[in-house]
């Protein structure tokens, strides 16, 4: 496919504007155009760096805030709490597994990645989320996705059993292993230290030994 063709220009505009979203026509085009597929992979890698760049180092950010301003901010929050004199309680949230599935479905294009990401791109994502993970695993997709107010590494790993999605949920403790299946996805939530790890596959259940290896590779 000629990269200057109308189809390519349309696809690149869509990809450059929203690399996470993949409309049906662009997806169909990508299946026949290696150059645009490469363009998307480049754009996804760029976005991983963008996310890392936008995640400013807050401790250093805070260091330079004048004490008077810090006091004013703290005072305003405390004052607001006192004025209210109570607590505003959230309604119960859907189960964690449901939300993981919903999130993965929103990023359906992540399953189709083939190209191994450079270690630096994966490291950026992990650093952004404050999580450590065995970098030797073949990662083809990596984002630090917003999830419950935190950045959560959303990875896709190539395995002998096909692509496997991993979400490293450092702030989501679970008490026990929980298997689930919904919308064609099979998954398992596993306790991992003070948090948990979600592992999902499209075809068949997640092999227990692979899931255990994933959990042992995560640190926080």
């Amino acid at each position: 496919m000629n990269s200057g063709s109308p189809e390519c220009r349309h696809a690149r505009l869509q990809i450059g504007g929203d690399p996470q979203g993949l409309s049906a026509d662009v997806a169909a085009h990508l299946s026949t155009c290696a150059e645009c597929t490469r363009f998307r992979a480049e754009t996804l890698a760029l976005d991983a760096r963008l996310r890392a760049a936008l995640e400013l180092p807050l401790p250093q950010f805070r260091k330079a805030v004048p004490p008077a301003r810090r006091f004013a901010l703290a005072a305003s929050v405390v004052l607001a709490m006192i004025i209210a004199g109570g607590f505003w309680v959230f309604r119960p949230q859907p189960a964690l597994a449901d939300e993981v599935v919903a999130h993965v479905l929103e990023e359906a294009g992540s399953w189709d990645q083939q190209k191994l990401l450079p270690g630096s791109a994966v490291a950026d994502v992990l650093r952004t989320a404050g999580v450590q993970f065995d970098a030797t695993l073949p990662v083809v997709y990596a984002y630090a996705c917003p999830f419950h107010g935190h950045r959560v590494p959303h990875l896709v790993i190539q395995t002998d059993n096909g692509p496997m999605t991993v979400m490293l949920l450092a702030h989501e403790p679970v008490s026990q292993r929980t298997e689930f299946a919904e919308n064609g996805l099979h998954g398992v939530l596993l306790p991992a230290g003070s948090g948990s790890v979600a592992v999902l596959m499209r075809h068949g259940e997640v092999p227990a030994d692979v899931a255990a290896r994933i959990v042992s590779a995560a640190r926080w």
Partner: protein
């Protein structure tokens, strides 16, 4: 699906959520304002406004985008109200602002500088999308633009940053 366990707390008080999300709000405000003092002011106003309006939030899962929207509007309001001068981005960089530090990662530092230098019309939707997690439809609504316009601006923003990242720019649609 009926998982036997879930692990999320269902009784997190609003104040705790505000404190938890404050770093995100501060980063977001900084990228909009490109000035840490202004960002602090915007976040301070946002926290107060959010607290006063907390009953408007019906869906707890939407708290982050709700707060980020307030940040964006407070930022716009601050400029309208005080008619603040625009920020000289070269000066911000020259000051060696610690907020732009990158732990020796020169590429990341360059990228931050390039984002700072993006025109507002490109930087704002990019920050909303990448840092805020907003969809193009939501950005269009928030910025009162059409979706194709938002898409084009995001494309051009990334196209400018591709060069900094060592990639060839894509042919512009125009």
């Amino acid at each position: 699906m009926n998982p036997s366990s879930g692990g999320t707390s269902s009784t997190a008080p609003f104040t705790r959520i505000l404190e938890m999300l404050r770093p995100d709000l501060l980063r977001f405000a900084f990228w909009l304002a490109r000035d840490r003092a202004v960002a602090e002011d915007v976040v301070q106003e946002t926290l107060i406004r959010a607290w006063k309006s907390r009953e408007e939030l019906k869906d707890s899962s939407a708290v982050r985008p709700w707060l980020l929207t307030i940040v964006r509007r407070e930022h716009a309001r601050l400029y309208e109200r005080k008619r603040l001068p625009t920020v000289d981005v070269d000066e911000v960089e020259a000051l060696g602002d610690p907020a732009l530090a990158s732990d020796g990662d020169a590429g990341l530092h360059d990228l931050r500088g390039a984002i700072m230098k993006l025109p507002d019309e490109y930087r704002e939707p990019l920050v909303l999308q990448v840092l805020g997690g907003f969809s193009t439809a939501e950005i269009a609504t928030e910025l009162k633009l059409t979706q194709p316009t938002v898409l084009t601006r995001l494309f051009r923003a990334r196209n400018k940053l591709r060069v900094i990242y060592g990639l060839a720019p894509a042919e512009d649609a125009e």
